[in-house]
């Protein structure tokens, strides 16, 4: 992934988001956000909002029913709760991404792993903090995307977060169709393989 403008695009924003951290940024229509999995198998939890009307937000059900498939791949349109495309996956070197596994929370970690995890940091904590920066809150929590995370569904319905299919340097590129507030939690989870049991930084690049 080149940070330069060899393909005729100029860099608007270039940041390495540290492990476990929240991030929020408005991506203007026509701009592309690259999310780069620097060290490999780092889940990046992500919610999209219409920056001009955050009641319109990313919807996992609308996205998967629009394409008839649960996996997010190159070409997938990320659809809002109003049925409108918010962003398109224009490229991804990781074969597919998850959108049914949700975001980890202190509360759900306690169910999945035990009460000893109740005070561990979690993605919902990051989302709620990022929301607090903009006057948003828990009512704005909704379904999310898990970039670089692998959640297969077996024939009998068994599903789970299993070993990732990402690798160091793999990336996903998202072109915005509206002013999109992108809110990210660089997932701090250490109780399942979504981060290879080792949360790491990711690079976030916005190009015009």
């Amino acid at each position: 992934m080149s940070a330069g403008n060899g393909n005729g695009m100029s860099v608007m924003h270039d940041e390495v988001l540290e492990a476990r951290a929240p991030w929020a940024h408005v991506v203007e229509p026509g701009c592309t956000l690259d999310i780069i999995d620097l060290e490999g198998n780092q889940a990046v939890d992500c919610i999209l909002y219409n920056a001009d009307d955050p009641a319109e937000r990313y919807s996992a059900p609308d996205t998967i029913t629009a394409q008839g498939n649960i996996f997010l791949r190159e070409g997938t349109q990320l659809v809002s709760n109003e049925g409108r495309p918010m962003m398109t996956i224009t490229a991804t070197s990781c074969e597919y991404h998850d959108t049914i596994g949700g975001a980890c929370s202190k509360e759900s970690n306690a169910l999945r792993y035990g009460f000893h995890t109740r005070h561990e940091h979690a993605c919902v904590e990051n989302f709620l903090l990022a929301h607090s920066w903009r006057g948003m809150g828990k009512r704005d929590m909704t379904s999310n995307i898990n970039w670089f995370m692998n959640v297969p569904v077996e024939a009998d319905g068994t599903l789970g977060i299993v070993d990732g299919i990402s690798a160091p340097g793999l990336s996903v590129s998202l072109r915005a169709h509206m002013r999109v507030l992108v809110v990210i939690s660089n997932c701090p989870q250490v109780n399942n393989p979504c981060n290879g049991f080792n949360p790491t930084p990711v690079r976030l690049l916005v190009r015009r």
Partner: protein, 292 residues
């Protein structure tokens, strides 16, 4: 021509008193799809064992027409029975903790925590706060959906030519929005929902496969409220239902008083994740009641 409101051959609404008589004459009419008020008048309700529900236990009984919506606040412990009257309902369900409606259904946690995408008897309906909102007590259908959400005006318009709730193809999302508004909630509270009686499965390659109705006429699902709930159900065609016409059967919603799942109940300890969810629910009730 007969008066469509009263069925009578004469209509006089020329004065206030005549208009009042005309309105009052309609009061005893009954239609196929309407609530039973008072609910104790619903004397034909049975539970999953076939036992009749005593009238004094009845809390709610409503026959929802195809395309319709209904909602109530129901107490902890109550049993809600969804009956697929025509064998073709699609019960789009949203659930909130009535004590703090910021806490609500989370379909991702529901499937992830239970390691299972398909709901059935024994499934728990989980909130975004790690608690049990409802327990599925019985299920004669076995064909449901926790992934695909609800139709929108846009999706129904694309499929059927129109989608507004004022028209003949009402969409689930707007049905929800209006029902939620009556409980002080708005579109930001309108999270992904569950669908009962219309199933979807996932193929190995991730493709969604609509499997439709399996329980047939009279199929039912019984759920227990494990917290005080705002329970909302819209009966609209599943968003992946391939039939070209707007097709959905009527839905009956009945609820009666009962006790929440307690320690010692097999459901409490069926799985380690579920047991911790019941414990976190119990902890919430403990502090909520102590704070009263």
């Amino acid at each position: 021509m007969a008066d469509p409101a009263t069925g009578s051959g004469t209509t006089d609404t020329s004065t206030t008193l005549a208009a009042r008589d005309h309105a009052r004459a309609q009061g005893t009419r009954q239609v196929e799809h309407q609530p039973t008020v008072p609910p104790s008048a619903a004397t034909d309700v049975v539970d999953r064992t076939g036992a009749a529900i005593a009238p004094e236990r009845m809390l709610w009984d409503d026959r929802v027409p195809p395309g319709g919506v209904t909602s109530r606040v129901i107490p902890r412990g109550a049993v809600v029975r969804l009956t697929d009257i025509d064998g073709d309902a699609c019960a789009n369900v949203l659930v909130y903790n009535a004590a703090q409606p910021l806490e609500r259904l989370n379909v991702a946690d529901t499937v992830k925590v239970q390691w299972q995408a398909y709901l059935g008897a024994g499934s728990l309906v989980l909130s975004d706060m790690g608690r049990v909102l409802m327990t599925v007590l019985a299920d004669t259908s076995g064909s449901h959906d926790a992934l695909c959400g609800a139709s929108t005006e846009r999706s129904n318009t694309a499929r059927y030519g129109s989608g507004g709730v004022h028209g003949s193809h009402p969409n689930a999302r707007d049905r929800f929005a209006v029902a939620l508004a009556k409980h002080g909630l708005d579109r930001r509270d309108l999270v992904p929902n569950l669908n009962f009686f219309q199933g979807v499965t996932v193929d190995d390659d991730g493709a969604l496969r609509f499997t439709g109705n399996a329980g047939g006429r009279g199929g039912y699902v019984e759920l227990r409220a494990e917290l005080p709930l705002v329970f909302v159900v819209a009966d609209t065609p599943h968003v992946l239902d391939p039939r070209p016409e707007y097709t959905v059967g009527a839905l009956r919603v009945s609820a009666w008083r009962d006790e929440p799942t307690g320690r010692g109940d097999p459901a409490w300890s069926a799985t380690p994740e579920g047991e911790r969810a019941f414990l976190q629910t119990e902890e919430f009730v403990l502090t909520m009641e102590a704070a009263r």
